[in-house]
């Protein structure tokens, strides 16, 4: 599946799209872990001290809000985006 990253999250990762491979029964959380393993510089920006997704980082699967334990399948598109504030 593919991750799409927005704004400063893409900058932290150094890429706007990142493809990851996970097992058939994997969760969104596993796919996130695979993303952070591939792009370690993103970890501190995306997760808080407790290893949870930061409150200002949104996660979507195929355009819908999901929990970390939701399942993922090949072909899913996952997105991580923060609010931006420039005017």
């Amino acid at each position: 599946m593919q991750w799409k990253l927005f704004a400063d999250l893409a900058e932290a990762a150094g890429e706007r799209t990142v493809a990851v491979d996970v097992d058939d029964d994997a969760s969104v959380g596993d796919a996130l872990e695979a993303l952070l393993a591939a792009k370690p510089a993103l970890r501190d920006r995306a997760l808080n001290e407790d290893g949870e997704l930061r409150g200002d980082v949104n996660l979507l699967k195929n355009g819908e809000n999901v929990d970390a334990d939701a399942t993922v399948a090949a072909g899913d598109e996952l997105a991580l985006f923060p609010p931006v504030s420039g005017g």
């Binding site: 927005f6 200002d56 609010p83 931006v84 504030s85 420039g86 005017g87």
Partner: protein
């Protein structure tokens, strides 16, 4: 017939609206009798003010506490070289007066305080969020939700924009982004730079939404967040839902702004 209230100059000025079936003289009259509060007269506010004034939105409130700087002129297209050093609210007011004498402008040279936010937004039919900071964005969301005023949101980062419309029935900005980033973590345009034409595109989309709200026309971006990427020239829309536990528009949402810490992360105090 309501079109009798448009004078000959107005029939001429707004003729391309008036001949549109979905606007017509009634729609134009609605715009002329309508009002919009534009918060921020910078990169986003410039095209919003231009198009709402040109469209004949009869009363425009313009709020900004900054003065025009030369580095603004690369994107803030209502201000001119000669305006450097002047308050943006004043420069914007003059721009509107020169463009369209039909428009009554209320220029406010200040930053909106939480104590006045609800009364201020309640005085307009629609609010357009063209600010450059999270505290004011969350404050506008909260005030507009409580007062039942639609809010057209736009925000930019370097080459990217986010646009959505927050309607009185929700979902609201806090349903989409429950927490503001920690102060200082998301850099502003002065730090990161911004493609000059980017706020033009994003502001025009906000102005489109505001005009649609005033006309009651079409489908707004309520419950949808539009991402714009200028580098790829791509638009992507994702849906989002109302959060029943939202501290503002949820079932037990707040009904005043007194308990919100806008200076320290915009959190809502729980009772």
């Amino acid at each position: 017939m309501s079109d009798l209230s448009l004078d000959a100059t107005q029939l001429d000025r707004y003729s391309r609206h008036i001949i549109l079936d979905d606007v017509g003289p009634e729609g134009q009259k609605r715009l002329l009798e309508g009002s919009a509060l534009v918060v921020g007269a910078g990169g986003l506010g410039a095209p919003v003010i231009q198009y709402l004034a040109a469209a004949g939105v009869g009363r425009l409130g313009i709020v900004d506490d900054d003065v025009v700087e030369r580095s603004n002129l690369q994107r803030q297209v209502i201000h001119r070289d000669a305006d450097v050093g002047r308050p943006k609210a004043e420069s914007a007011e003059e721009f509107v007066a020169d463009l369209n004498p039909d428009i009554e402008v209320e220029a406010m040279e200040r930053r909106i305080a939480p104590e006045e936010a609800r009364n201020l937004v309640a005085d307009y039919d629609v609010v357009v969020d063209c600010t450059d900071n999270f505290p004011t964005r969350y404050m506008l969301n909260d005030a507009c939700q409580i007062e039942g005023v639609p809010l057209c949101h736009g925000a930019i980062y370097k080459f990217e924009g986010q646009i959505t419309t927050l309607s009185p029935d929700g979902p609201c900005y806090r349903c989409l982004f429950p927490e503001a980033p920690e102060p200082g973590t998301v850099p502003d345009c002065a730090t990161t730079g911004v493609l000059g034409v980017l706020p033009g595109t994003v502001g025009c989309l906000q102005a489109t939404e505001a005009v649609k709200v005033l006309l009651g026309l079409g489908e707004t971006l309520t419950g949808r967040l539009l991402f714009y990427d200028a580098r790829e020239l791509s638009f992507e829309t994702v849906p989002y839902q109302r959060n029943p536990d939202c501290p503002v528009c949820g079932d037990d949402g707040i009904d005043d702004l007194a308990g919100v810490d806008y200076d320290g992360g915009c959190g809502v105090a729980s009772d």
